[in-house]
Structure formats: C-alpha cells, structure tokens
Symmetry: C2
Subunit: 572 residues, 2 copies
C-alpha cells in the first residue's frame, strides 16, 4: 500500500476527549474515526488488524470443532419473547418497528438465534455435542460508551454457542474453550490477560469466567492472589472477613456531630478511624416504592453485584435528594423508619463488632459505643462487601491485590435456560426428550484491538505485534524525489510485495523526520530505510519498532533478514 | 467436517412457500433457515460459500487498489440529513431512536459514511483517486422480500466508493471496476451475467450499469440485442418507435361498447387489434390530490421508471376504486375532466396515428376514427413505453429480446451529489477547493450465492462450482459400521484434510442411498466412495457432481487425482 493514497491522516494533536492511550493513538494515527457516540468507522489499517485478530479467533474456534455460521443482526420480537429477554433486558437492547409495524430488535448477543437455528436441525443426542459460532456486528446501547474502542455501542464480536447432553460434557468442552481463549490472547499478542471467575449477569448461567486484560484502562476490578493464584472478578470475589478489633463493650451514647454526614466526615468529627463506624447505603428497586438499606463497616464499600444476588432484585443507588422521604446522613440501624416492605441487609464485616458509631436517624447526631450483637437485632450477616487491596485471600491467607482490567472475552455455562424456554429438545439414549445444556463464549474484536494498542504502545505511538500488525514493513525512502532512490525503493517495494511481505510504502516527498514519526505513530514492526548513503554501500537499514534495534543489511540479504525477523519475533 | 455433527438437516420435502429452485434447495439442504420475513440464518455450509465469494470479491477489489474499511451499521440521523436522504428515502430506511432519544438509521448503503470518513482525511488532489470499500451487513426494509436469498431485508454487501478529481479519471476507474466485476462473476462461477445500462434511481448519479444474472428467477427485465450487443435495463431501454399503420383519416364516431373497460375487452368488442386503441393509465403522486394520466398505444405498457423521469415525481398506480373521482374504463383524451394541476402525458407510440379508438369519458362508450394529430392537442410526445419482445433495436434495427434477470451487482457514476451536500472538498492543482467526483459499486453476497445455486442446480440438488463449494470432497464410506471400512476411510479423511482438501465426511451409519442423495443435494463437487469391494482392489471411486463421470482410482493415486480434478475444473 502506498501511503500517499491511504485514507487516514496522522496528527500530533491529542484528541480532546481521549483519556486512554489506545483511544488517542488510534485516532492520531488515522486508524479510526468517530461517527456517533460509541460508533466508529475503521480505516484500512484498523480493518486489517481486526481481520488478523478475527482469523486467529476463527482458527482456534475451528480447532475445537466450531461451525462458523451467520445469524441476523435484526431479529423479530417473537424470538426474544420466547427466552423472555425482550422484556427482561433494559434500554441497552435496541427495539424498533419495521414498515409492517412488527417489533424488531438489534442483536446484542445471539442465544435466541443460535437455539432457533439448532432446534429443528438437531433431534438426537448423537448429534451432540456441537458448537456453532459467528463473527458479526452487534449493537448494545450502552449508557456510557468510552475510551475509543474499549467500550462502544456497535462492535464486532465472536459469539459461540455449544450444546451438550450432560453437564460433564459441557464441563469438558468449557475447558477446551478456556484453553482456546488462552491461545487466542497469546497469539494476538496480549500478554497481560488472566481468566477470572465472574458473575454471569443477564446471561442467566452459573459458572463463568472473564478473560481480563489487566490495565488501568479497564473499568472492571479484579482480585488477585499472587501467592495461591486465586483470581476473581470483584463482583464475585471472596476474601477473609476482617477481624473487628477486640474493644470492650461500652455504653451507647448520643453525640452531636453537626453537619457530618459522609462517613469520612463522621470519623473526622469523632477523631476515630472509619473501621469503627457503621455506614448506611441506600438502594432503590426499579418500579418499587420500598428501599434496600445496607449496613456495612465504614471502611468497606457495597458490592452491588453481590447485593443483587442477596436481595434477588435489580438495585440502583437511591437518590436521597431533598424530595426523598429518607434523608442522607445519620441513617442508623436503630429506630430506622422505612417505607413498607423495605429490606435491611447487614454485611458480615459487622459481625461481633463493639464500640461502633452509627447514625441516630436524626439530623446532627450519631450514637457511639454500639455493640452490634447486643444492640442491633441482626438475623443474618451476608457478604455484600467489595474486597479491598491487602485484604487476605480466603484460599491461602496471603494479601490480595485489587487491579483494574478490561474484559476481552468471557465464557459461560448457560445451562438449559434457553433450550428450555425455547423448547429445544433432543432424544437421549433412552429415547426421552431432554433440553440440551448450553455454553456460550464471546470475544470482542475491537476491544481486543484496543487492548493490544493499550498494552504495546509507547510515547512514540502504536506498536503492533507482528501477528496482528496492519503491515509488517514500513518502506521509507529518504528523498523520494531523488530518481535513484525512487528507482531502488520502487524495486524493493515490488520485491517485498512479491515475497508476500505486507508493506506500507512511504512514497511521499516528505522529510525523514515526518516519515520516521509516522512510522512510529502507526506502529509498523519493521522500518526499512533507503538513502543515498545506503545505496552507495548497496545496503538498506532495518529498524525494529519494538526494541529500537537498528541494523544495516546488504541489499541482497535484505529479504532473508526480514523473513528471519518475522519468524524469530513470532516465536517470542 | 464430520456430517454427523453438522447442524443443518436435509429433507426431501419441498418448502411450502419456495417458488425458486435456489430457495427450495438451500432450505432442503439445511444451509439456511428463515428467522423472519427476509431475514435468514446461514449454517456452516452457506457461510463457507459466502466467505469464498467474499474472498474473491476482496481480491479483485484489492487488485484495483481498494482499501478495505468498515463503516457502521447504525448511523445518526444527522449524517443522513447532510445528504438529504433521511427525508428523501421512504420506508425501506429503518429509523429508530436510541436510549438518549437520538434518531438513528440502519445503513442500507454507505455513501454518507464513506464521505464522512474521507472528508477530513483527504484534503489535497494528490491523495486522489482512491477507493474505499467494505463487506458488511446492511438492512433494507423491502416491502416484498421473496425467493429465499434473492430478495431479502438483511444482507451482506460489498460496497465501494471511489473519489476523483476529474470526470475522465472517474470514467477510467469506472471501467476498471467494470472489468473487476466481470472477473468476479466469472470467478464465482456465474456464467450467465451481463452488464446493462440502468437507471440509477435513488443513488442520484447519471451513468450506471447493473450486472444481471439472466434467469427466470429474476424480477428485473432486461432488453438485449443479439445482433449488435445492445443491453439495457427495461427501466431505461430504448427501441425503435413502432410505426403506425397508414390508415386514411376517417370521421370520429361514438360507439356503444357496454361493459368493455380493459383495453382487451374494448378490442374484443370492436373486433380490432390493440394497436388501434389508445389506452389511459392513471397514476397518483404521493401526498398530492392531482393525478398523472398517461395515454399510450393499447399494445404497449407504461414504464414507470421512464414516467418518473418525465414528470420528475414519484408516481404510484392510482387506485380507481368506487370512491375515486376518476372512474376506471372509458378514459379518453378529449373532454377529460381532471383534478386541478393534473398532468397528461402522451407516449410517442401515438405520434401520427389515425383511425384510433379512445375512451369517451362516459360509461359504455368509446370513440372510433380518431386522428391523434387532428383531434387531440398534443404539445409533446415522450418515451414512457416498456420495450417489447421483438421490437426493433434502435442501434442496429434487429429484433430485441426481453429477458428476466437478477441484479447481482451495480456500478454508478455518482458525481458530486454527496461530496457537495456533505461539504467534502480537496484543493485542486490551482489551490482551489473542489468537490471530488464519486463512483459507487455494490455486490450482494447472498444474492450472488443464490444466483449460483439457481444457475448450477439440477433435479438432484445444489451443484457448487469448485471455487465456491463449501467443501471440495464428500467422503462417503459405505457401511461405516464395518471396522475395516471405518479404518480405511478415517485414514483417507485425515490424508485429505492434511493435504488441505476441504472434506465433508459422511461418518453416519446410513444406507448408500441416503448418503448419495445427501451428497447430490448439498452439491459437493467430488464424491469419494470407499466400500468393501473397492478396498479389496485397494482403490476408491471418484464421481463428479457436475458431469456424473465416475472413475475408479487406486488408493495411492487418489490424492493426486483429486488435486488434478481441482485444477482442471478451475481452469474451465
């Protein structure tokens, strides 16, 4: 490809709204362009990277007997009614009516379509297990798209669905997919990916794993134990419950705390640490007038995913504004008046705590000296706390790390949720009709692309691993207006492309500085320079983007040297 | 691939609603499944065929310097407001609001997205010409989807957009795309494709061609001259105007014709041929109370595409029901009372005609002996007639053929419609900002697939050309339950796949009849049979799906023979 014709302009300017490196660099290199919030156009370089990632995914899916299919983007409501998801999924599911006033949806995952395709086609257990997958455009109307390609609304996803007769068979296949995912992320060049146990959310299954690219660019929090290897998404992470300092029980006493409302303010006002306070966090339940009040030790935060499981409802943080019945601040477990049917939940961090401070349910006052067991009637302590950095691993006792991550893939054991609701059965060995047990498995292509950019880029720009680089060689003649140089480099360009080495040819009459900067910004792995000086010694200069290592190579050896660099690098 | 696990059941049953061969056979072979009206799921075999077609298209687009990009399926209204198409396109454009109540559309073509991507990225004429393309899912809310994959609502399309400084440059590139299209249809195995001049419709350009697969499966009509090679879509086709028989002018006379309303009935009642009658055809204009009345010789039909160009408005056939002001039948050009602002159009077939029969604008009567020039005040005769089979070619005078076709591709010279409305400029050689001139070029992948099926299939089933076949070899052991046969065929399966020969392995314990029928139905080019008898002579049997030629080949030669068959066939 000649860069003079490549659509996509490069700029030094940092895009105003880009917080993440990958976002800024992909835009600065002219690889992507925003069309609307969370909706992007991919230029040729980004499309080439995406295709290479897709091909690696495809090879690995095929290697575990995946059958590549294609399900529609637009589906009728009726199909999503069968699973119940037309109603159960919120605004992230796009709904519209077609010209015949039939209700349609834009696919955000394709469990319904996969079961629809398989159910009449598969009738006997002999046909199980099988896995069908596609690599296809999806639309999810995210409330907050962000970070360039990290969280978008329209995206290309590999989604796979497996069908099994027994749980054992699913488990066995699940492990195969797990292993294939490990290979995929390795092959696309992502080093810092870990698989963590996760909450399967709206998918409705039980066991699931997320493949997390560990990076500050991520919004997800992951709990890691560097000692025993325990890994879990914050949403489901466990840890040893902190021990409450053995304080002798004392007498309860109401104390004026003035305007102190937030737990930090209360601790500050009373000159105590936050672990001696009991914090109240209030949640609403969509469409209901009652609330959920959580009491938790003041130095912990509520984990909403855990809370949802405890109360078995979707919760949203309550807005305790001036119009709310319940006033923010001073909420405490004693004499608390709540709307009918409200739920009060106590976190296990409170168990056995003495000498605690609680809100008094009246403005300006808190109560000290509270013994949880003695003064509050708690029927049950539950786990609704977010694990904290340094908290101890419940497996081995070592201190835990809490790190940020980007979810680049996920695998779920779905069970029979979809085959049951959608009436898919096969006859088992005894001729009895049973619902196949499903697994489903996703990888976001654009997010993987952005994650690679995030992990490998440096202050000079993008820096693609060979296996996904849009081009392998950046051919860079200095002074393209010099006819001798032009001739030599045109010759080398045709030699490289004939040898199947993907080459981006900088055929502009720009300065070396501009050319080198563009090569670095675009992150092409191997830069080949041709100049008057080099031609004089019948050689070229090779420079590796990743290491910065530069070598002068004789013209005759050039092709072999580049091929060798491609192999070595691929093995690393 | 082992057929025992392949999702997609084969059946002898003809699908109830399938009129076309391709529709019925693709369903009967288990390749596709209907999800909703005009929306399909592709199973593994159909997806493999589609991928091969896409790869051929991609290679040819890359060979003419195409840059593969990816534009979004979902786009904001604002983008389509820029071109004016948000309002000008009818119900086939899906519109919806996202969770933030922003208006969005589903892309049916991507001129807007292509210009949006290019306009800030390209600023100088040095960067022209270039072509950007994608192969992507589109949605067009067709009123009547039909014929399986022939006319659908959701489809995969290759859409390409080129940008030029001059018309000459566009013309030159347009020819390159034309040639690439000829190669593409040849390479995917479609023999009966012709390029015809066409009406560019909503695209808004001038010169355009449609690539028509000639087949009764098509809805489009094409006019062909076998003598000089003239080819045109019916919508724009020209022909020599028929000469009106030299009849001496006679006197006009009102005649009772009773219930005769349709032109056939009138001719029958008066014992004359239809070419002696003047037919009236009435059209409505959307949103207007006035009408368009067309007068045309009774043996011709109105071509609505031509009419639209003449009146420069969208016309729809008028419903002259009992509530209509204008009554069907007996409509004639003399003393015709019409709503204010109505338009009357005379086709050129009427020029110089004498002794014609017209409606008298009152029930039960027609007028004979009409001389058009003498009795009707016609300011202008226009061409709004559909060309008829046997009418003479306006280029060479030979009789024309009218045949049916499926539009498998199209190319348009767009001009500056989009670059102008969307404000894309480049500086020309004199530093003046000018709008680039565009071309756009589409191919529907699924429609090409169905067309190949339509052209190549026979009474036994599908019959894929090697270059797009889902698998090359159908490996068919007779009596898979026999351990010797099983061993031999498992061995051959792994030999074939190791050699890179795509093989569908019939590993079922079914009867030879079932296996052979499935092989024929699925249309796999080369069937390889292993049986006890063949093993006894250490040989296999090869049968070609297309020709039915069967050969017995020694086991050791088998691989070479298959490879040879693949090469020969590819050259044919």
């Amino acid at each position: 490809m000649r860069i003079s014709k490549l659509v996509g302009s490069r700029t030094k300017e940092q895009p105003a709204d880009a917080v993440l490196k990958s976002h800024a660099l992909l835009m600065r290199a002219g690889f992507i362009k925003s069309v609307a919030n969370g909706i992007w156009s991919f230029g040729m370089p980004a499309k080439r990277i995406a295709t290479k990632i897709e091909n690696i995914i495809r090879e690995e899916m095929d290697s575990i007997d995946g059958q590549e299919c294609s399900f529609p983007v637009v589906m009728p409501k009726e199909l999503w009614d069968e699973s119940g998801r037309y109603n159960s999924i919120g605004e992230e599911l796009v709904r519209f009516t077609d010209r015949g006033n039939r209700f349609m949806v834009l696919g955000m995952t394709h469990e319904e379509a996969a079961v629809h395709f398989a159910r009449d086609n598969v009738t006997s257990h002999h046909q199980l297990p099988f896995m069908i997958y596609q690599i296809q455009t999806k639309f999810r109307d995210e409330a907050r798209s962000r970070g360039g390609l990290i969280r978008v609304r329209e995206f290309t996803m590999k989604d796979a669905y497996s069908f099994h007769l027994t749980h054992e068979d699913l488990e066995e296949y699940y492990q195969k997919v797990y292993d294939a995912y490990v290979r995929i992320f390795k092959r696309v060049g992502l080093k810092n990916v870990v698989a963590v146990k996760s909450d399967s959310g709206m998918m409705g299954g039980k066991i699931s794993h997320e493949f997390m690219f560990l990076s500050d660019a991520g919004e997800d929090k992951i709990v890691l134990c560097n000692s025993c290897g325990y890994k879990a998404n914050m949403e489901v992470a466990d840890a040893v419950v902190p021990v409450n300092l053995s304080v002798e029980p004392s007498k309860m006493q109401e104390i004026f705390t003035g305007d102190a409302k937030e737990i930090d303010e209360v601790a500050e006002a009373l000159k105590i640490t936050k672990d001696k306070t009991i914090k109240a966090v209030v949640y609403n339940i969509k469409g209901e007038s009652y609330v959920v009040v959580c009491f938790i030790r003041g130095d912990y935060e509520v984990n909403e995913a855990k809370l949802k499981k405890v109360v078995r409802r979707e919760v949203v943080p309550a807005n305790l504004g001036s119009e709310s019945e319940i006033k923010a601040g001073n909420i405490g477990p004693i004499n608390l008046v709540l709307p009918k049917d409200s739920i009060v939940v106590y976190d296990r961090t409170l168990k056995g705590a003495n000498g605690m401070v609680i809100g008094t349910n009246k403005a300006g006052y808190h109560t000290t000296g509270v013994s949880v067991e003695r003064d509050i009637k708690v029927k049950e302590f539950v786990d609704i706390a977010k694990v904290k950095q340094g908290q101890h691993c419940s497996c081995c006792g070592a201190p835990l790390d809490v790190v940020a991550g980007v979810e680049v893939g996920n695998i779920f054991q779905l069970g029979t949720k979809y085959t049951q609701s959608m009436g898919m059965t096969v006859s088992n060995k005894d001729g009895v009709a049973v619902n196949p047990i499903m697994g489903c498995y996703g990888i976001g292509v654009g997010r993987a692309l952005a994650s690679i950019a995030e992990e490998t880029s440096d202050e000079k720009g993008l820096n693609w691993p060979l296996q996904v680089a849009p081009w392998i060689v950046y051919l860079c003649p200095l002074r393209y207006d010099d006819p001798v140089i032009k001739e030599k480099s045109d010759e080398l360009y045709s030699k490289l492309t004939s040898a199947g080495i993907e080459t981006l040819y900088d055929d502009r009459e720009s300065s070396p500085g501009v050319k080198f900067a563009d090569c670095d910004l675009m992150g092409i792995p191997i830069r080949v320079v041709i100049s008057q000086r080099l031609i004089a010694s019948d050689s070229i200069e090779i420079r590796l983007r990743a290491s910065g290592i530069t070598q002068t190579v004789s013209n005759s050896e050039c092709l072999e040297r580049i091929k060798k660099l491609m192999v070595i690098n691929d093995m690393s």
